[in-house]
C-alpha cells in the first residue's frame, strides 16, 4: 500500500513539474457543441480554443483563449457570447492572469484573477449586471495554494500531461479556482479508444473528469474527454452530463498544432 501511494505521489509530482511540450503559439481548435436528447443531436454553439503570443515590457506569455458562440438560429432564443482567457507561462503553463467575460441570454458576469505567486494569493474582481443595467463590482484577495490554476489553464495542462506513461485507472488532481472558490478537479485515465472525427480516425486517450465535492461534474465517469494519443493530444470529443440530456463537443478543425 505504501509503495502504491509513493508511486502515485511520484507520478503526480512528475506530471505537475512537466514542461510544455504540447502547446505552441498560433494553435486554433474549433468545436461544435451539441445537445443530445435520446439520440437526437442539435448543434447549439461553436467553441474555439486559440493560443497566441503576448509580450509585456518584461516578459513573453502565452494567451489561451476560449470562445463560445451560439449559432444564429439560437441567438434569438438564448444568445451566448463567452470569452475565457488565461495568460500563462509558455514553458510551464503557470497562469498569471485569468479573465472570464460571459454574456448568456442577457446574464452578464466578469471575473478576473491576478495571481501573486510569491504571496500565494489571487486578486479577484467580480462584476455582475444588475436588473436595472448598472454594474455591481466586488474585489477580493484570495489565499490559494501554489499550484492553483484556472479552468482554461487546467484544460491545457491536461493536454501537457505524460498520459502515455499512465496506467488505466491512474488519476491526477489539480486545484482549480472557479467563482472565487478553490476546488479539486480529478482526471482519471480510462484507457485508449479509436474515435472517428472531422480530423480523421484517431487513437485517443479516454479521460474522465470529475470535480471533488461538487454536483457540477460528478465522479461517475459521465464527463469524458478523448485526447489524440499523439504528441499534440488534441481534444477531439467530449461528453458531459447536464440536467436534461447530454452535451457533446466535437472537433471541427485543428490548425497550427505544435507537433
Amino acid at each position: 500500500m505504501k509503495q502504491l501511494s509513493l508511486t502515485f505521489i511520484l507520478f503526480v509530482g512528475f506530471l505537475l513539474s512537466a514542461q510544455n511540450k504540447t502547446i505552441g503559439y498560433g494553435e486554433k481548435l474549433v468545436f461544435t457543441a451539441s445537445y443530445n436528447m435520446s439520440g437526437l443531436l442539435t448543434d447549439i454553439a461553436q467553441v474555439t480554443m486559440e493560443t497566441s503570443k503576448v509580450s509585456t515590457s518584461k516578459s513573453t506569455l502565452m494567451r489561451l483563449k476560449c470562445r463560445a458562440t451560439t449559432f444564429n438560429s439560437f441567438d434569438g432564443f438564448f444568445k451566448v457570447r463567452d470569452l475565457y482567457e488565461s495568460y500563462v507561462s509558455p514553458t510551464s503553463l503557470t497562469p498569471y492572469l485569468y479573465k472570464r467575460d460571459i454574456n448568456e441570454g442577457g446574464y452578464y458576469k466578469f471575473m478576473q484573477y491576478k495571481y501573486r505567486r510569491k504571496s500565494r494569493s489571487v486578486e479577484s474582481i467580480k462584476k455582475k449586471r444588475r436588473g436595472d443595467g448598472s454594474i455591481w463590482e466586488e474585489k477580493k484577495i484570495l489565499n490559494v495554494s501554489s499550484s492553483t490554476k484556472d479552468l482554461v489553464a487546467t484544460l491545457y495542462t491536461l493536454r501537457n500531461l505524460d498520459i502515455h506513461k499512465a496506467n488505466i485507472g491512474d488519476a491526477s488532481s489539480f486545484k482549480v479556482l472557479f467563482d472565487n472558490e478553490e476546488s479539486t478537479v480529478v482526471f482519471k485515465y480510462l484507457g485508449k479508444e479509436i474515435i472517428s472525427s472531422n480530423i480523421g480516425r484517431k487513437e485517443c486517450y479516454k479521460i474522465a473528469i470529475s470535480l471533488r465535492g461538487s454536483d457540477l461534474l460528478k465522479g461517475n465517469n459521465s464527463n469524458i474527454i478523448w485526447l489524440t494519443a499523439d504528441a499534440n493530444k488534441v481534444p477531439v470529443y467530449a461528453k458531459f452530463k447536464i440536467p436534461v440530456g447530454n452535451g457533446e463537443l466535437k472537433i471541427k478543425s485543428a490548425t497550427g498544432l505544435k507537433n
Binding site: 461544435t32 445537445y35 436528447m37 435520446s38 437526437l40 443531436l41 442539435t42 448543434d43 447549439i44 461553436q46 503576448v54 509580450s55 509585456t56 515590457s57 518584461k58 516578459s59 506569455l61 494567451r63 483563449k65 470562445r67 458562440t69 451560439t70 449559432f71 444564429n72 438560429s73 439560437f74 441567438d75 432564443f77 444568445k79 457570447r81 470569452l83 482567457e85 495568460y87 507561462s89 514553458t91 510551464s92 503557470t94 498569471y96 492572469l97 479573465k99 467575460d101 478576473q112 491576478k114 495571481y115 501573486r116 505567486r117 510569491k118
Partner: protein
Amino acid sequence: MKKLLIILGFISAILGVVLSVTPLFKIALFPTIIAFLCGLGLLYLAKKKQLKTKLIQYIFLLSIVSLSFVIYKSIFQETKVGNTEELEKLDESSEEDAIKELEDLEIDD
C-alpha cells in the same frame, strides 16, 4: 378511451407544432410520434364503432405540419455562427487591458 386518446393526441400535436418552430426543433419528433399514434388509435376506434373522424383529421394535420417543419429545418437550416462583432471588439480590448494588468505582475519564467 376515446376521450383520453383525443386529449392526448391534441396536446401532443400542439406541443409538436410549438416545439418544431423553436431552435430545439428535433425534440418535436417525440410529441409528433405520440400524436400520430393517438390518431391511429382513434382511427381504429372510429372504424370499429362508426364514429366521426373530423377530430382525427385535425390531429393528423397538426402532426404533418410539425413533421414538415422538422424535416425542412433538418435539411435546409445551416449551422452558422451569429454576429460576433461585439465579441471581436471585446477580444481585442481585453487583450490590451490584460497587457496593462500583466505589467505590474512578477513573472518568474
